[in-house]
Every structure is written in structure tokens, then in C-alpha cells.
Amino acid sequence: MGAAVATHWTVHSRRFEASAATREPAWVRGILIAIALAFFALFLLLPLVTVFAEALRKGWGVYFAALVDPDARSAIFLTLLVAAIAVPLNLVFGVSAAWAIAKFNFRGKQLLTTLIDLPFSVSPVVAGLIFVLLFGAQGWFGPWLIEHDVKIIFAVPGLVLATVFVTFPFVARELIPLMEAQGQEEEEAAIVLGASGWQTFWRVTLPNIKWGLLYGVILCNARAMGEFGAVSVVSGHIRGRTNTMPLYVEILYNEYNFAAAFAVASLLALLALLTLVVKSLVGMAGPAADECRSGTLKGIP
């Protein structure tokens, strides 16, 4: 959806710029562009370059050694594992929540819509503490969990829970406006034609939301891999066991092992960049492709 809006904007701004009546003076444009570029260079580009420069300062050998270290490999594996569990869970939760909010009317709908945003507004540290309070040794369910020999806090389940909590809104937020805009007439048409609920979902609803869904999943994945605060509280920082990549970077840094810290950090940054590339590819291929298709008959040049 974002990409569709963006293409619309560029067309619009081109027309806006072409007209002398609506064009700003050159010096205004110059200053605005300069501010934007300076900000971009200073706050986004410079740190990114620094990460890679620092990582490679002692050469490729040290760089690769840092990445194949057993603790590093374990952190990479754990990060991918947590994302691989949390993202599908949030995919299901997000679709269900968006479906419920967009297509049904029920009491407390407004409350649910607000609650979905809670993970965005609450500090990740608080999110982590919630789970410690619930499942920690001194927490509400602590004694019961110890009795049954289930480990949640300072173990992988806790990491997954904290990540799921923090990344919950991404899919739902992306889908709710989309599904609300589409209404439910197509679903009604499918049911009248004899389709079952399952067939309606797979053949009508899912194809209509697939690009928005993919977009939400990508964002959700980016955050799941990069999450630090909430995960830090429930992790316990056990090397080789409960350290995800962001946590491992911090430990290495605190131990003055800068080369290794930046090497792992660069990998994390690389994953983030990759996510952005995939995201913009999806943005271009998805809604834009639909628009081209619909444009052929409307006489859009």
C-alpha cells in the first residue's frame, strides 16, 4: 500500500513542480534538500559506514574468525530461530486480529484496536519485565513452572514470548486499514456462490491482502531479529545458550572486543539492509503491478 501511495505522490509532485504557480523558489528547495541530505549523511549513513569500517579494521581474517566463533554462531542461530517462531505466530495472530476488527462488529472492538498498539507505546524493558513477573522464579506462575520443570525465563521460550509481544502490531497494523477499505462484499459474494469459510479465506481474502501481509511480515521480521530491550530482560545473557545477536554484540562491546562486536553488528546491519531491499522489491512488484494492470484500459500513458 505504501508503495502505491508513493507512486501516486511522485506523479503528483512532478505536476506540482512543473507549474510555476506552485513551485517554491530555488533557494527554499536548495535549503530543504541540503538539510535532508545532511541529516541523512550524519545520522544514517555515517553510523552504517562506521559499523562496517570498524568491523573490517583488523582485516577479513579477524572479521570471519569473529563470525565463526561458536558463541557467535549460536547467537546467529538463536536469532534466526526466535524470528522463525515469532514471525509465523504473529502472522496468524495479526491476520486473526485484523479480520476480527475489520469484518465484525462486537463489543470492545475499540479497546482491542487500542490494545494492539500497546507494544508500540510501552517500553520494551517493561515488556520484558512483564514476562519475568509472570514466569520468573518469584513470578505468578514461577513455583508451578519449577514444579513441572518448565523453563521460560532465561531460556528460549522467554525470548520467543518477549519477541512476539514486541512485534505483535506490525502485521495487524498493516492489514486493518487494508481490510477495512476492502469491506466484505467479496467474501459475501463468495459465500452466496457456495464457498465454505475456508475456501473463502484461501481464494478471496488472502489473495486480496497478500501484499500488505508480506509487507507486515517483513517489518515484523526486521524487528524480531533486532529486538534488544525486552529480550535482554528475559534472556539472562548465558553465552552460547540465550544470547541473540543484539545481546551478543553488547557483551562483546563491554568486553572491549570491538572488532568482534562490530563484525556481528555488521552482520545484523546487513540483515536489516537485506530486509529493506526485499521490502522495496515487494512494494514495487505488488500494488504497483496491480496498478499497471488496471491502468492499461483506463488510458493511462
Partner: protein
């Protein structure tokens, strides 16, 4: 298949959408549900389809109580105002959808589906567009595809919810005629909802006029137009001039003026509402004329085969508007000027009791 709805009631919060409606839709007829927006016509259609559940009452399909039957089991075809075509599927896939989602045992073979879709696209005269997507079609084409899709599963009834509501005037007219021809060929029991009186009168075998959740009149189109049962129907089906007054003998006294009303069953002194269509009024320019309502000419609109004269009541304290339709020759003979005071004389007046009048003006 015949449809019978019995005592259907539906509320949305405090709003009464349907107030115990009972109606019959005989087999093979095309019935128009006509009324202003919010009168409950779409709600009734959706209840018949099963897309909405009634608070009370029954829906009988072919004499069988279908109130608890699932939408899927009712075998109805539904056409939506905004087409509701599956936007990610081609025209072909849209039409084939109903056949492809059938349970494995009843699903036709792929060849048979292809053949059936081809037949349907032929029927709606859009065979050339099978591989297009809905966004590549015009509104009129989309609605014809929606109709083909609904017909694919051989529904027992066809329900159309303002099918031409989103189209421009010219296409509407074309599709109207086309729908009528199609119905004459298929003879499938059909109900279509509209707020356009011309559309209802032109297409339907019978018209059901609804207002505020209840039925005002059920009749053949010409009956509804020529003999409206209530002032509401009078007003809704075309323009009408209203005269509030008291009955004295063969006259209706309106303020200081009086109108001849002919035969009626009202007691002398009873309050009544006279309804007169614009073409049933004559204009008398002679000021000494004793009968008729005094009025002042505001504007004369001449285009097309008839001319319209807009007038206001001569008494400026009470704002009243009148409309008269005359032939162009007659207008030319009258030589009307804006501001001129004339008398309006009805050729025909329908009288209604004033209690009905109150309801109509709500």
C-alpha cells in the same frame, strides 16, 4: 421458485429497518422493491439471501421454511451494487468460481466448467473479455459479469441489490432493457432493489413500494403509477402538487380558494389532502375565473416535448410551490410572464384523509 416472507422484523439498534413485513414473490416474476434510502428494501433482500438475519418472522423458499438455512444452502444468486467481483481473478475465473468451489462430488469436470463459463459469457455478450481483470472493465461490463457469475451456479432465485445504482444514466437505461430481455428468456424468480422509480416501473412485472420499514403498495407498474394507494406513493412515483384543505360538497376549500374534486366519500367539513400530478393541472390566465388555486408564475422551463411551469402560492406568507406540465403549443398560447398571477385548475384530483397526509410528510 416462489418466495414468501412472513412477518419479517429487523432493527439496527433503535432504528426499525423492517416493521413486520409480509410479502409474496410468485415463481418466475421480476419484482421491483422500490423505496427511498433507509426504507428497508436492501435489508429485506439481504434477509432473503441469508446475508442478514431477521429479528423475527420467516422466509419461505418454495413453501419451505429457510429462515435457519445457511446462505450456501439457499441457492440464491446475489448481485451487489458495487459488483463485488473478485479483483485478483480474471473474468473467466470470476464466473467459474461458483462451480469450482462445489464439493468434489458435485463439481463439474474442468471441460464442463470451461464450456459453461463460455455459455454464460455469451449470454451476457462479453465473451471477448474472458481474460481481462475486473479493473479493466467498465461499470456496465462489470455488472454483467457479476450477473453471469451469479447465474453460473443455477440459482433458484436471483436477487439484485441496486444493480445499476453505480452506473451513469445512459448505461443504466441500456442495462435495464437488457435485464428485462434476459429475464424474459430465463424466467428465473427475481427481486431487484432500486430507489429509481423509473427503473422499477420500466423493468418489473410488479412493484413493491416501501417506506419506513413497511410496504405501502404492491401492484403492477401502471397501477402503482396511475392509482397510488397512499400520498407517499403518489409523491415518490413522480412529481405531485399537494393541496391541504377541507371538503365541502364537490369542492376542496384551500384557504380562500376552492378546487372542484368530483365524486368522493369524504364527509362535509372533513380535512383532506388533494394530490394532483403536474400534467393534470391547467393554467387559467383569466383573473375573473372563480374556481382554482391562485398562484404566481416563477419560471417557465421549455425543453423537450413538454414545458414545465414553476409557481408559488399567491399568498406570500405561506410558502407553497406548484409545478405544471403543459405541451409546448399550450405554453406558447398562454404567453406567461414571470410574476403573473394565474389560477390552477386540476383535471383530476385524488383525495386522501389528512391522517395519511401527516405520515407522508414525515
Amino acid at each position: 421458485m416462489s418466495i414468501h416472507v412472513e412477518n419479517i422484523a429487523k432493527r439496527f439498534g433503535r432504528f426499525v429497518a423492517l416493521d413486520h413485513v409480509t410479502l409474496d414473490f410468485p415463481t418466475g416474476e421480476l419484482v421491483g422493491l422500490l423505496g427511498p434510502s433507509g426504507c428497508g428494501k436492501t435489508t429485506l433482500l439481504r434477509i432473503i439471501a441469508g446475508l442478514e438475519s431477521a429479528d423475527g418472522g420467516q422466509v419461505l423458499l418454495d413453501g419451505e421454511n429457510a429462515s435457519d438455512a445457511h446462505v450456501r444452502e439457499r441457492q440464491v444468486g446475489f448481485v451487489f451494487q458495487h459488483y463485488a467481483l473478485f479483483r485478483h481473478m480474471t473474468v473467466f475465473d470470476n464466473v467459474a468460481f461458483g462451480l469450482r468451489v462445489k464439493p468434489r462430488g458435485q463439481r463439474p469436470a474442468a471441460d464442463r466448467i470451461r464450456q459453461r463459463v463460455a455459455e454464460l459469457l455469451d449470454l451476457v455478450q462479453l465473451s471477448a473479455l474472458a481474460n481481462r481483470y475486473p479493473t479493466q472493465l467498465s461499470g456496465g461490463q462489470r455488472q454483467r459479469i457479476a450477473l453471469a457469475r451469479a447465474l453460473a451456479v443455477e440459482p433458484r432465485v436471483l436477487l439484485l441489490d441496486e444493480p445499476f445504482g453505480a452506473l451513469d444514466a445512459k448505461v443504466r437505461k441500456e442495462l435495464r432493457r437488457w435485464l428485462r430481455t434476459l429475464h424474459d428468456a430465463l424466467h428465473i424468480t427475481s427481486i431487484f432493489v432500486t430507489h429509481d422509480q423509473e427503473e422499477a416501473l420500466e423493468v418489473s412485472d410488479r412493484v413493491v413500494v416501501m417506506n419506513h420499514g413497511h410496504v405501502e403498495q404492491v401492484d403492477a407498474p401502471e397501477q402503482v403509477y396511475e392509482h397510488p394507494a397512499t400520498p407517499f406513493v403518489y409523491d415518490f412515483l413522480g412529481a405531485v402538487n399537494l393541496f391541504h384543505g377541507r371538503v365541502h360538497g364537490h369542492h376542496l376549500h384551500v384557504g380562500a380558494d376552492h378546487l372542484p374534486v368530483g365524486q368522493h366519500s369524504f364527509a362535509t367539513g372533513a380535512e383532506a389532502l388533494g394530490c394532483v400530478r403536474p400534467h393534470e393541472l391547467e393554467i387559467a390566465t383569466d383573473p375573473s375565473e372563480p374556481a382554482g388555486i391562485e398562484a404566481r408564475v416563477e419560471r417557465v422551463l421549455s425543453f423537450g416535448s413538454t414545458s414545465r411551469v414553476e409557481l408559488t402560492g399567491a399568498d406570500r406568507d405561506v410558502r407553497r410551490y406548484y409545478e405544471v406540465e403543459l405541451s409546448r403549443e399550450r405554453i406558447a398560447g398562454l404567453q406567461l410572464a414571470a410574476g403573473q398571477v394565474v389560477r390552477l385548475k386540476p383535471v383530476r384530483v385524488r383525495l386522501f384523509a389528512s391522517s395519511q397526509a401527516v405520515e407522508a410528510s414525515v
